[in-house]
């Protein structure tokens, strides 16, 4: 983009007969700058004002540390659950034909479409001790609402579509001849699945896992109602940002936000690395 050309002969843009590059490119950069880059830069500026030590101090505050632990730990578990069931659902939806399949397929996107606050109050009322599911769980001695279990449930809800939708197109593209080849070579179905079908899907599963994880860590609306938000127990990092802001502790809010942003970038980077590896190894993303 703005970087100087490596060699003077290499052009920034290949010439093309299609018109409109200047105006569309300029408009894109302007919008991107004002809406996305400038505000994010403000956060980075604020955070660098705190310094690494300042951020570290906030992060090691017991309440903050506990909130970060809850956010990352529970999200990891939830993403794992979403990946396992997501793979199963994607497999069922692409490989089997059964009545209502298209409706089930559409339902998977519900968490994308349903506003998080709506999902939040619905989950809270379902899993409350007197709620439809909460009552049954209570009989089993499981308290869901106002504990990390509730957070976990909300995060699975929000992460599931990512897990399903990253794997599904790849299962669709599996060449059945590969499985038939495996069968003609004497492998039983289980062997074929484990040795032939699943390995090329692993990068997609990992990508789906990373997306669900990142979404879970940042999620706010669907969690706060069911979580109960008890400090040191069921308080999540995004909520703590809101609390710090309401106390006008901008520095604290920025420090937590920076840590979360850092984790999202690491996750993003991991996804890119997975995809680069996949491209080398399997020839596709």
């Amino acid at each position: 983009m703005a970087e100087p050309p490596l060699r003077p002969r290499r052009r920034f843009r290949q010439p093309s007969v299609i018109p409109g590059f200047g105006i569309t490119f300029g408009y894109t950069l302007t919008c991107l700058g004002i809406i996305v880059l400038l505000p994010l830069a403000a956060l980075v500026a604020r955070a660098s004002g705190l310094g690494l030590w300042g951020i570290w101090e906030v992060a090691t505050d017991p309440r903050v540390a506990s909130a970060l632990r809850v956010s990352f730990g529970v999200s990891l578990l939830a993403a794992l659950t979403a990946s396992v069931f997501g793979f199963l659902i994607a497999w069922v939806l692409t490989r089997y034909r059964f009545p209502g399949r298209k409706i089930v397929d559409a339902v998977v996107d519900l968490p994308f479409a349903l506003p998080t606050a709506v999902a939040g109050i619905a989950l809270a009322s379902l899993y409350a001790p007197n709620g439809l599911v909460g009552e049954q769980l209570a009989k089993l001695g499981i308290e869901a609402a106002y504990t990390p279990v509730g957070i976990y449930i909300a995060m699975v809800f929000i992460g599931l579509p990512f897990a399903v939708r990253t794997v599904q197109p790849l299962i669709e593209e599996i060449d059945k001849e590969i499985e038939e080849a495996s069968a003609t070579l004497g492998a039983d179905r289980w062997h074929t699945l484990i040795k032939v079908v699943v390995p090329p899907l692993i990068p997609a599963v990992l990508t789906g896992f990373a997306l669900a994880f990142a979404r879970g860590v940042g999620e706010y609306g669907s969690i706060i109602f069911i979580a109960g938000n008890l400090p040191y127990v069921s308080e999540i990092a995004p909520l703590l940002i809101v609390i710090k802001l309401s106390e006008f502790d901008y520095g604290g809010a920025c420090a937590i936000a920076t840590i979360m942003l850092g984790i999202s970038f690491v996750t993003l980077l991991a996804i890119n690395l997975i995809q680069a590896w996949s491209r080398r190894r399997f020839g596709y993303v």
Partner: protein
């Protein structure tokens, strides 16, 4: 020799070498359906059950309230600004990115995608840091008596941010897949760039465009975290529908809260329905976004 015909037969045909036995299939389908029913469908159903817990009159009462009406108005206004903005941006960005080859393109695409990987709360926070009283432009705005944070402009900005990539991300792969041959053909026939866009490009992307606008709108109307941070929760002034749901819920006014929530859930259902219809009907024109290369 059953190999060559496998793709034309229903994949679940009993006895095929490329599927599992009937019992295993039934079990897996059962697990998938029960899991989805429990985790996704049940919460949706709950919204409507709770909304109608005290009957129609209680349900309708939730909307006769002045604050509820102003929340509906503000939500519509926000979407009416944010969606067209991102529509224009998405078309511009995907034209520049899909129809031309230039250096740094991948970086540009990554930056456009950035809002998807930022927590909603952080999305709100960054606008507070720019426009808030203690923010970068705070003193200047105060001097000129312009209120952005805890006011409608802040809500609109935060909504634009969280829905920023929707249209662009859908259109870029779609336009890339379609290449430039048809536009070139139009140009050799004497069409101007704008004429070629209107008559050739736009008809080719219209369903993908509608699809992305639909999803963008659902998110714009339903956004909670980011809007919550910049809104200030001033009843009747800076409350959108999702924020109104929260306030009512926290006041233990469950019926009203779920009634308002049911409105948003209805929007989600309509979105899903139209989205699915579009996918079934025009899969080829939409799927490029999801297809892998």
């Amino acid at each position: 020799m059953s190999s060559a015909s496998a793709t034309t037969q229903p994949p679940a045909r009993a006895g095929s070498v490329v599927t599992e036995g009937f019992a295993v299939r039934a079990l897996l389908i059962g697990i998938a359906v029960v899991f989805l029913a429990l985790f996704l469908v049940l919460p949706l159903v709950t919204v409507f059950i709770q909304a109608f817990a005290k009957g129609w009159s209680a349900y309708l009462a939730a909307f006769s309230e002045v604050d509820a009406r102003s929340a509906i108005r503000l939500t519509l206004l926000t979407a009416a600004i944010a969606v067209p903005f991102n529509l224009v941006f998405g078309i511009m960005a995907s034209w520049a990115i899909a129809k031309f080859e230039f250096r740094g393109k991948n970086l540009l695409v990554t930056l456009i995608d950035l809002p998807f990987s930022v927590s909603p709360v952080v999305s709100g926070l960054i606008y507070v840091l720019v426009f808030g009283a203690q923010g970068l432009l705070g003193p200047w705005l105060l001097e000129h008596d312009i209120q952005i944070i805890f006011a409608v402009p802040g809500i609109v900005l935060a909504t634009i941010f969280v829905t920023f990539p929707f249209v662009a991300r859908q259109l870029i792969p779609l336009m890339q897949e379609q290449g430039t041959a048809e536009e070139e053909a139009a140009l050799t026939l004497g069409a101007s760039g704008w004429h070629a866009f209107r008559t050739v490009t736009l008809p080719n992307i219209r369903w993908g465009l509608l699809y992305s606008v639909l999803l963008c709108n659902a998110r714009a109307m339903g956004e909670f975290g980011a809007v919550s941070v910049v809104s200030g929760h001033i009843r009747g002034l800076t409350n959108t529908l999702p924020l109104h749901v929260e306030i009512l819920y926290n006041e233990y006014n469950f019926v009203a809260s779920f009634a308002v929530a049911s409105l948003l859930a209805g929007l989600a259902l309509v979105t899903l329905l139209v989205k699915s219809l579009l996918e079934w009907r025009f899969s080829a024109e939409i799927a490029a976004g999801a297809r892998r290369h």
